[in-house]
Symmetry: C2
Subunit: 228 residues, 2 copies
Amino acid sequence: IVHTQDVTKVYTMGSEEVHALRGITCTIYSGEYISIMGPSGSGKSTFFNMVGGLDKPSAGEVYIDEVDIAQLGVYELAWLRCRKIGYIFQTFNLIMVMNAIENVSLPMIFAGLSADEARDKAAELLGLVGLGDRLTHRPVEMSGGQQQRVAIARALANDPAIILADEPTGNLDLRTGREIIELLTAMKEERGVTIITATHDHKMLAASDRVIWVTDGQISRIQKREEL
Amino acid sequence: IVHTQDVTKVYTMGSEEVHALRGITCTIYSGEYISIMGPSGSGKSTFFNMVGGLDKPSAGEVYIDEVDIAQLGVYELAWLRCRKIGYIFQTFNLIMVMNAIENVSLPMIFAGLSADEARDKAAELLGLVGLGDRLTHRPVEMSGGQQQRVAIARALANDPAIILADEPTGNLDLRTGREIIELLTAMKEERGVTIITATHDHKMLAASDRVIWVTDGQISRIQKREEL
Ligand SMILES: Nc1ncnc2c1ncn2[C@@H]1O[C@H](COP(=O)(O)OP(=O)(O)OP(=O)(O)O)[C@@H](O)[C@H]1O
Ligand SMILES: Nc1ncnc2c1ncn2[C@@H]1O[C@H](COP(=O)(O)OP(=O)(O)OP(=O)(O)O)[C@@H](O)[C@H]1O
Ligand SMILES: [Mg+2]
Ligand SMILES: [Mg+2]
């Protein structure tokens, strides 16, 4: 369960301020599939960074399983990032000097698996996203959508309780996009994984339990699937 | 007018070969709005690189206004890239150490405008894509969709005859995406610019004069708007 209490984020550049988040209070229940939708620049990625413990709010609290993550020390925060949450970033954030299987193995190696165990599982995950024949290719040797799918495989590496997916289908064609949505839905239904996605992709609506609409750093409305 | 004659591209990595393009022959007429659609990894960005003179085919020819671009020298090829074709890359390719107005000004300065003329026009173009209040922000201080719009403004900088747009709406919400499509349509209708886009975005279909469907490095079919 993820709860944010009046989370605010202000970016300051010289004398300028951008109010990316203007007080977000919401609760996301374990095993939910949530889509966060909103215009470009409305605060989706910023909210992600808060919930994922990748950045700190200017004000407000983020609780994961009732723990205020601002209270976590370096070790606990790293554990949170490494084992509990899988991230699919908007810009993939793959390591360019590593190939696909190395990118997907790395989080598992950090989490304590042997190199062999990590490689085997990485190969399995890459097969799951349709890249079983590209294990030794580096990001620069792949299309945009293929890179995104490596990022998705990597997010699944440590069997996370929560998957944060920032635009996971943005670079994918209709069919591949649907396959990814089905994969995320299966994660939720079969393993109880909490899915939180920021997206502009209306295919996501049908898969979501709830949709949180964000406008200019605030929640403008929340809809359950029945209401869509 | 752009014509490709049996263009093939093979990427070689060690003993492996990827056949990204398997013989593409097509003609794109001046002032057309063409969408190239196809699954992830089907060859769209690779085809772009051919048509835009950014990479060379393994076999086959690319003609722009009846000139075989393989015959162009370094000076002519640079002129082509700088002044005739505007590029909107799938990964934006913005210069991270420059702010928005510097990124958009640069092509114009390379093309011979004074720094002042370039800045004025860059400010106008950024306003056109809804970023008039972000002129001095750097890419790292912007959302994914905002970065994409800087890339779009930059593509328009030298009033190109051809715009190559690789996934120009991939990171944009519905409304901003439509605004960009309207902008591209206006370029075609008011200035006769040839628009060539690779996209997964079905909103593009209505704006296109023709849609070229690419599968596994080949054209599988071409449809006129009336047939969609
Ligand atoms: N590191 C940063 N420094 C300064 N401003 C930032 C930073 N990151 C984001 N912003 C600004 O905060 C606002 C929200 O950005 P955010 O990336 O959360 O939007 P978004 O909803 O994800 O947009 P998109 O759909 O385009 O990805 C934007 O105005 C953006 O320019
Ligand atoms: N530099 C490269 N080196 C090796 N292989 C490459 C390179 N660029 C692309 N490829 C491969 O060529 C094929 C076509 O890639 P391309 O980027 O053209 O696809 P795309 O249609 O643009 O896909 P997407 O919709 O995912 O962006 C893919 O299998 C890709 O992995
Ligand atoms: Mg974003
Ligand atoms: Mg591509």
